[in-house]
Amino acid sequence: MSNPDHSAARKLWRTAENGKTSLIGRRCDTCGKRSFSPTIYCDACLGESFSEADLGSCGVLYTFSEVHVAPKEFTTPYVVGYVDFDPDIRVFAQLEGEAASFAPGDSVEAVVGEIRRGGDGERILGYKFRRAA
């Protein structure tokens, strides 16, 4: 992936002093719709002004897969899944832990870890999820 990380346009996570990682969404100042995607416009009302909305750490795993064939920037196998932040946000992310340890409906929590390698082999970090303690 030679392009700059798209998610760098807006900070998408934060790790507190107690080590808890939470995802940072946003709320449209015009219509109030919450979202996670770093886009320029609100897809509901086309507003351009947003305020930060803390999504918290914990979500529910909707479904997942272990990927064995992927672009070379990614170290296979790795597990990916969709995590739901009730009621209005779904986040796609990598999962930490054995694929066999997950099931749809599991509670998961956000952590920071390696997503992929950059062009010079450097680790690119991002939000991931693991089974909630």
Binding site: M1, S2, S7, Y62, T63, V69, P71, I89, A93
Partner: protein, 378 residues
Amino acid sequence: MVDVFVHGAAQVRFGRTPERSIETMGQQAVIAALGDAGIDKADIDEVCCGNVLGGMLVGQRILRDLGMTGIAISNVENACSSGSSALREGYWAIRSGRAETVLVIGVEKMSVLGGGTLPLEVTDIEVAQGQVMPAVYAARARRYMAETGATVDDLGRVAVKARLNGSRNPYAHFQEPVSFETIMAGRMVADPLRLNMCCPTSDGAAAVVLSGRKPAYAGTPVRLAGTALKSGKYRTAPHDVTTGSLTKDTSRIAYEAAGIDPRDIGLCELHDAFAPAEIMYYEALGLCGRGEGASLLRNGDTAIDGRIPVNPGGGLLARGHALGATGVAQFAEAFDQMRRRAGARQVDRDVKVAVTHCTGGGISGVDHGACAVTVLVR
């Protein structure tokens, strides 16, 4: 408005063939389709060409050397649905009255990509996290299986059927049957999808001649009775990914346009890019009810000799997937089956209504970029 009749169709064999150019494959399909239709190239009023990876003016590059220039040529890109979107353009060119006879081409050279998974848009937020197309379907399959009781064995059965049908299809990329045991022991691509549960990326072409005039061939003419195209809705909130809602919505528009009911469907060519898609799309297309997809397959209802044969040409899993060519090849297959000239893969039943379905294109938040459905009636 005028009816749209199918005059002729042709496929060029799908496969991994770096030596064949886009222009050559396209020209072979065009000449064969014109020959099948018995229509002179001078009678073509307009051309619609579906392609994704070939660069600018693919239709013009194919047609220039056949001396088919000076007419309206539009190039259509809609990811996996490019060919079926081109069919829709051709349909409306005739229905609107601006053209009487239209040539629709689908062509793709996937071998330019090398191997591996289809490249997605790298600026996409999910792709940056490691999303790949097989994982999209694998994750859907896992949820679908959890909700309906379908099993990984059912995914293997889809692949067995596809490869058996492909072994009877001289246009298929893969022409050897593969055993259930071999499929279930295959290399894992995205759990639970093993290699033969994922379609190959192929080179290939197909072409179709449509006209507002009645065709010359004997028997009841085959009509393109309805088409529909929809893009996937952008959904940022949790939603069900197991029902194929885009396919359901698009197909119902096409069925209504054609004046048919899902119970009328006698044959279906659907977009089995990955094995679980076939079972889920049985339900979305209305061939059976929710949660009944796996039993439809196990009963043999969708086999070549079944009640509603699905993908008698081998589907994407065996014929292969050549993005822009796929939708047109599906259509050509349905036409051949309705004309009862499909050789060793000819279905038993007399097919009055056939449906072709493409859906695809991965961008985050929408279940697919584009879905297109056509209905053939005779």
